[in-house]
């Protein structure tokens, strides 16, 4: 009947608990619907119940109860516990047959099992988390070196037998990570070229050394900006995609299935992505360099009146070819780092969809971090050998 009500709110009956004393006999009469909607009031009534001193027995009369749900049944148990706590012996009357299964269910529940974890004290928690993060970081680093080793071995296997490689997959990932990234990489590099030239022109004009804008734009774009901007975009774009793709496969147990079919996930999932990025990132870097220089040339012409041909000849005389190679040689190294981190984090996904999200974030952060660290190492190396 209750289910058929058509009012806006379910028609809960008034619930009540009344204490009666008839011929020295104490009776508690429960009435109405003991359901979750009436629970707050009933809870309060049970708390406010005056427990008379000098009484030995009490009868709880349940005959007046209409509907009973688990919340109501729990309150009845709470009432029992409270009365028993004041040394009353309790008897029941009027228990309806339809309520009995639920009352029995609730009776079986153990009291006091914690449902929430109590967090340790604040300071201890900070120490614990720091420790766990440190240990985790070291483990990750070791595992990542191990993963790199595995990849090198697999790569060697593929070089010996190139037929084993999934070339379709490689081409697919080249399109996804390279071709599709061209608009955004081009736009950002062009803008960076513009900004470099504009800022440089502003400063160099004070010394009347406007023409050195070409050196500034050329060297900074070719050595650092082109490759760095490209790598960071690709890490955000493709590194995260690698983690999410492999992670989702992990959640769906596709990776497990691969393993049981005698297929090697490292060879099928990781190598094609790695190879694709090793090919496309240098190409993208070259493209970014060209577009960046174009941006610089445009701004030099607008701001300083340096024509395109004089920009080119100044570029040729000022920027030696080793600057170009110093930038380009970083690209495959960065590509390997991004692909490795992206795939590694993807394979770390366990069970839930939530860990896909968490590890994707981690993948982007770690790969950008690695790219910048590697760039710094390259700078030190280059300055030591005097390039």
């Amino acid at each position: 009947m209750t289910a058929g009500t058509s009012s806006d709110t379910p028609a809960w009956g008034e619930a009540g608990l009344t204490l009666r004393q008839v011929h020295g006999q104490l009776t508690l009469e429960a009435a109405g619907d003991w359901v979750i909607a009436t629970a707050p009031r009933l809870d309060q009534k049970i708390r406010d119940l005056p427990v008379a001193a000098g009484q030995k027995t009490v009868t709880i009369d349940l005959a007046g109860i209409g509907r009973l749900d688990t919340a109501g049944a729990w309150l009845l148990r709470g009432l029992h516990d409270r009365l028993a706590g004041s040394n009353l012996s309790i008897s029941y009357s009027g228990v309806q047959a339809s309520h009995r299964p639920l009352l029995d269910q609730v009776e079986r529940v153990q009291q006091g099992t914690p449902v929430t974890v109590t967090p340790p004290s604040h300071l201890a928690e900070i120490a614990e988390r720091t420790g766990a993060a440190t240990i985790n970081f070291c483990r990750e680093a070791v595992a990542m070196v191990g993963f790199l080793g595995l990849l090198v071995v697999r790569l060697g296997g593929v070089i010996v037998r190139p037929r084993r490689l999934r070339w379709t997959s490689v081409v697919y990932h080249m399109e996804a990570t390279g071709l599709n990234a061209m608009p955004i990489v081009g736009l950002l590099s062009f803008l960076i070229g513009l900004v470099l030239a504009y800022q440089g022109a502003d400063q160099l004009r004070r010394f009347g050394a406007e023409v050195f804008v070409v050196n500034l734009v050329g060297i900074s774009t070719l050595r650092e900006m082109g490759v760095l901007i490209t790598s960071i975009i690709v890490a955000g774009r493709s590194g995260s995609a690698f983690t999410a793709q492999i992670g989702t496969m992990k959640v769906n147990q596709e990776v497990d299935a691969m393993y049981t079919l005698g297929l090697d996930p490292a060879e099928i999932l990781v190598l094609p992505r790695m190879l694709a990025l090793l090919i496309t990132l240098p190409l993208l870097t070259f493209y970014a360099n060209v577009v960046g220089l174009l941006g610089g040339a445009l701004m030099s012409w607008v701001e300083l009146g340096i024509t395109f041909s004089s920009f080119m000849s100044q570029l040729q005389s000022a920027v030696a070819v080793h600057h170009f190679w110093a930038g380009m040689i970083k690209a495959p190294v960065f590509a390997a780092a991004i692909a490795m981190v992206g795939c590694y984090e993807g394979l770390q996904v366990t069970g839930s969809a939530e860990s896909v999200g968490r590890l994707t974030t981690q993948s982007v952060v770690v790969s950008i971090f690695l790219v910048i660290i590697l760039d710094a190492i390259f700078s030190i190396l280059f300055s030591k050998i005097g390039i």
Binding site: G4, P10, A39, T70, A73, W74, P101, R108, Q110, P114
Partner: protein, 260 residues
């Protein structure tokens, strides 16, 4: 066709339901009445649209045409407020539990209680404990994340969340699939218990012939894009080949032998 608007005993009324995905028609003019306080088992071959029917009734999927009334109201034409009221009165258990993966089991169960009532936290904790015990989960499971549970335990936790507000209408999508036979039997007993004390109406998509025999009052069979509803005894004598095969196949016979 009897006019059901005046019949308070019908909780779910489906009339002339048509659902289709592209050119594929799943239900074609399907009629169904679910009566208050009954346990209705819905069966049908794979791809016959059992889960789709369930989704259409709870408003997750918009049918191509037809009317669906739950608790006397058209599902598609409800205001947000009415929908909230109805949602408070039904509980849904999805196939794999559909627990929120970033919350512990206990937080999952407490979420609807906190959202729809203003009980004190201590009472909410108590009710959570009751639900956890009711569905047969060990007490320490309450503090775990769904990813740390087995498939069967996730299902139980999902049921605990569906029961959090003690709904009057319970939708179960293959509740006993993936449970061991003992757990499945205990689950059947639990549904029967709850149904008695709460006067629950249960809409259960299932393939478990044992639960069909043990707890279902009536059985709805989805065949030929329509539905046939009857008691188990009467369905046994139906001439339709699929229904015959279903109840008289080797598994059907074994389950029936156990019931009688």
């Amino acid at each position: 066709m009897t006019d059901g608007r005046t019949d308070p005993d019908v909780v779910i009324r489906v009339r002339n339901l048509v659902t289709r995905f592209g050119p594929q028609v799943l239900h074609d003019g399907l009629d169904l009445d679910v009566r208050s306080g009954e346990v209705l088992g819905v069966v049908g071959g794979s791809g016959s649209g059992k889960s789709v029917l369930l989704k259409a009734i709870i408003g997750l999927l918009r049918p191509a045409s037809g009317s669906i009334k739950v608790l006397g109201r058209e599902v598609e034409r409800m205001t947000d407020r009415q929908l909230r009221d109805i949602q408070r009165q039904w509980g849904v258990l999805f196939q794999d539990g559909a627990l929120f993966s970033s919350m512990t089991v206990c937080e999952n169960i407490q979420l609807p209680i906190k959202e729809h009532t203003d009980l004190p936290q201590s009472l909410i904790d108590d009710i959570t404990r009751v639900k956890v015990a009711m569905v047969g989960l060990p007490p320490d499971a309450a503090t775990k994340l769904p990813a740390q549970l087995s498939g069967g335990m996730r299902k139980r936790a999902g049921l605990a969340r569906a029961l959090a507000l003690d709904p009057s209408l319970l939708f179960l999508d293959e509740p006993t699939a993936g449970l061991d036979p003992i757990g499945a039997a205990a689950f059947d007993a639990l549904i029967a218990d709850l149904q008695q004390s709460l006067k629950l109406t249960v809409f259960m998509v299932t393939h478990d012939l044992d639960s069909l025999g043990a707890i279902c009052d009536r059985i709805a069979v989805l065949v030929d894009k329509k539905i046939v509803v009857d008691t188990m005894e009467n369905l046994l004598d139906y001439p339709h080949p699929w229904i015959r095969e279903y109840f008289h196949g080797p598994r059907g016979r074994a389950a029936l032998a156990a019931v009688h």
